[in-house]
């Protein structure tokens, strides 16, 4: 398999989009398909992707998005089913949120889109270029002012096909919003997703990206943000495992005083894989970034966490921290955790730490000494390890929804 071969542009697109397809495709010319010798893919095999064809677009089940509702969240939902935007299943968005289907963009909108689309995701992200070369049904969200209701993008997959998800969010200066990307469904598709966030000056975004799709679904994708001066992003990531799940998250602090906080958790089990590559790019002075990721790796699962902080020469007085903690709950579970710090300015404060451990015997005993059986004690401590990250969630109903999911998850997880 190679990238060029997969870069098949959809027919009948507007001219600007055809140009975008061509540019994305040209970025892939001669790019070799990644293998174990490619540093960024050293610990994650693409074989589950190359071994299957993913050309069956037949629905395998219900397309009722209400199954994936989040109680009490009171969100405005923008629904995609198998990569296609479904206005009829979506809620009306507030007046200060414009939803534009890329292929239907007016000339002015297209101009706006072109100035950001594909410029936030790093060019080295070849799967993102592949996504660009096949781009058809993506949307742009333009957000002005303060949006009080959370916007939820439901990325539902019901088929066994190859899906191309694309989202561009433009946060206007001073705007504020909460945006939840919710990947769900019973499809065993291959999803290639790219979300880009352009945060203008003083804008503030709470972003949640929940990878809760079918356990056989393959996902290679990620989300990428560019922060202008004094913009702030708080991100929450949750990923369950699958035969192949590779997620890249980059935050570029491009304007002075930008601030990002990222929290994440990954939970592979059985023989699943999950690979988070996160990167904080600091190109402007006085910015802060804080990344905290935790993983629980069970059975024969394997997780990869690569945390990168890249401080460019002009980014003086940067404060950047990176923290990764892992629990291995079986002797055959594996985690590859790697901090990568590249710093070209002396006037910065950076800290990083990574741990890999097992549940503490002392804590287990404490719980058992109060009457909890070993399974219940084990579940409670696993849950606690991740639940701690939810305490800071900005949307309590969403935290509650995830707590229930996590509890059920660990319920099936007892040794």
């Amino acid at each position: 398999m190679d990238f060029e071969q997969l870069a098949v542009a959809p027919a009948a697109s507007p001219v600007w989009l055809q140009d975008f397809h061509a540019a994305s495709r040209s970025a892939l010319v001669g790019v070799p398909w990644p293998d174990r010798k490619t540093e960024a893919w050293r610990n994650t095999s693409l074989r589950p992707l190359t071994d299957e064809s993913f050309n069956d677009s037949t629905m395998t089940g219900s397309s009722d998005p209400s199954e994936y509702r989040i109680d009490d969240l009171n969100s405005r939902d923008v629904v995609f089913v198998d990569g296609q935007y479904k206005p009829e299943l979506s809620d009306e968005t507030p007046s200060n949120v414009n939803v534009v289907k890329l292929a239907d963009a007016s000339e002015t909108e297209a101009q706006l889109i072109r100035s950001s689309l594909g410029t936030i995701v790093p060019v080295s992200q070849h799967f993102a270029q592949l996504n660009g070369s096949r781009l058809n049904d993506g949307i742009m969200l333009r957000i002005r002012g303060v949006v009080s209701q959370p916007i939820r993008i439901v990325w539902q997959s019901n088929s066994h096909g190859s899906l191309n998800h694309r989202l561009l969010v433009l946060m206007e200066p001073g705007s504020q919003a909460t945006l939840i990307e919710h990947f769900c469904g019973i499809g065993r598709a291959f999803t290639n997703s790219v979300s880009e966030f352009e945060l203008a000056e003083n804008s503030h975004l709470h972003h949640y990206r929940l990878h809760l799709e079918h356990e056989a679904a393959i996902h290679v994708g990620g989300c990428h943000a560019r922060l202008s001066a004094n913009a702030s992003l708080s991100g929450f990531h949750l990923g369950t495992g699958s035969p192949l799940k590779r997620l890249d998250v980059t935050v570029n602090h491009a304007g002075a005083g930008a601030d990002s906080r990222m929290v994440g958790a990954y939970l592979p089990k059985t023989k699943q894989r999950i690979d988070y590559h996160i990167c904080a790019e600091h190109s402007a002075p006085h910015c802060t970034s804080e990344s905290t990721f935790r993983g629980i790796v069970a059975d024969e699962a394997r997780a990869v966490f690569n945390g990168r902080i890249h401080i460019h020469p002009g980014a003086r007085e940067t404060e950047a921290t990176l923290d990764n903690k892992n629990l291995l709950t079986s002797y055959k579970a594996q985690v590859h955790t790697k901090p990568e710090l590249e710093i070209y300015n002396d006037d910065v404060a950076c800290a990083h730490g990574a741990t890999v451990s097992q549940l503490s015997e002392e804590s287990l005993h404490y719980l058992r000494s109060r009457g909890l059986g070993p399974d219940a004690a084990y579940r409670m401590l696993n849950f606690a390890f991740i639940n701690e990250l939810l305490d800071g969630a900005s949307e309590p109903p969403l935290a509650e929804y995830l707590r229930t999911r996590l509890q059920n998850w660990f319920e099936q997880e007892a040794p």
Partner: protein, 249 residues
């Protein structure tokens, strides 16, 4: 109620308890005193079934059961409670969830109907007040960021909810100021009952002014070398432990 006979136990192949015997009847309060390293806390841990503590010989019976054969959670459900000297912090689980899970585990074990959520909350709040902890502690992570005194009161709260038959207090007085000591003692005294016994492990006689023991035992080198009534504690306070150690030597 609790009968310990000629108990030997080791930690990391070092023998700590060396032939300890103790009979505790219903409703009695026994104080166990001794210097650091005499085996007081080891006794508590062995009774609670802590991993890493190996019983090499001897027996412990609680009611009609061989306690040492039981898993730690079964000992707890059967009515044994150890108030830890160093309670463990469990961030990410609220105190309330933890207490509820503990009470429910026991109800399930005995096939009883679990308390409904609002009754349980009411009870937990009442006990919070009784141990002088603000009710916000119910919503905080178990022992997370609690001061030493708060942790001890939290142990007491668990004890009051679980209503054990045998409660072991492992240096519950250490690190407490006088006011907190009074609260802990009041809690313990309120639980004193004809069918409930206490083992109070302490360094100092002071606690025994608040919780009056029926018997005082002195542990030296892993076994009880002297037993008496509360006047023994006063004698120790006056003379120190040295005279007993010398006697044993």
């Amino acid at each position: 109620m609790l009968s310990i006979h000629d108990l030997y136990a080791s930690v990391d192949e070092t023998e700590i308890l060396k032939g300890l015997s103790l009979e505790i009847s219903d409703g009695e309060v026994h104080a166990i005193m001794g210097v650091n390293g005499s085996g007081k806390s080891t006794l508590g841990h062995v009774l609670a079934g802590r991993p890493g503590y190996t019983v090499t010989s001897g027996s412990v019976r609680m009611d009609d059961q061989d306690l040492l054969e039981l898993e730690p959670e079964i000992r707890s459900r059967a009515g044994l409670f150890l108030a830890f000297q160093y309670p463990v912090e469990v961030p990410g689980v609220t105190n309330l969830e933890f207490l509820k899970a503990a009470v429910e585990a026991r109800s399930r074990h005995y096939g009883e109907e679990p308390l409904n959520a609002s009754e349980f909350l009411k009870q937990a709040r009442g006990i919070c007040d009784a141990v002088n902890l603000d009710q916000s502690f119910l919503r905080r992570g178990v022992n997370e960021g609690f001061s030493g005194g708060e942790k001890k009161r939290n142990e007491l709260m668990q004890m009051m909810l679980l209503q054990p038959k045998v409660a072991i207090l492992d240096e519950t007085d250490s690190g407490l100021d006088i006011d907190a000591l009074q609260v802990v003692a009041d809690g313990v005294n309120s639980l004193r009952a004809p069918d409930r016994s206490f083992v109070v492990i302490t360094h100092y006689q002071r606690l025994l002014n608040y919780i009056e023991p029926d018997y005082v035992h002195v542990l030296v080198g892993g076994r009880i070398v002297r037993s008496g009534d509360k006047s023994l504690a006063l004698e120790l306070e006056e003379k120190g432990y040295r005279w007993l150690e010398d006697e044993v030597a």
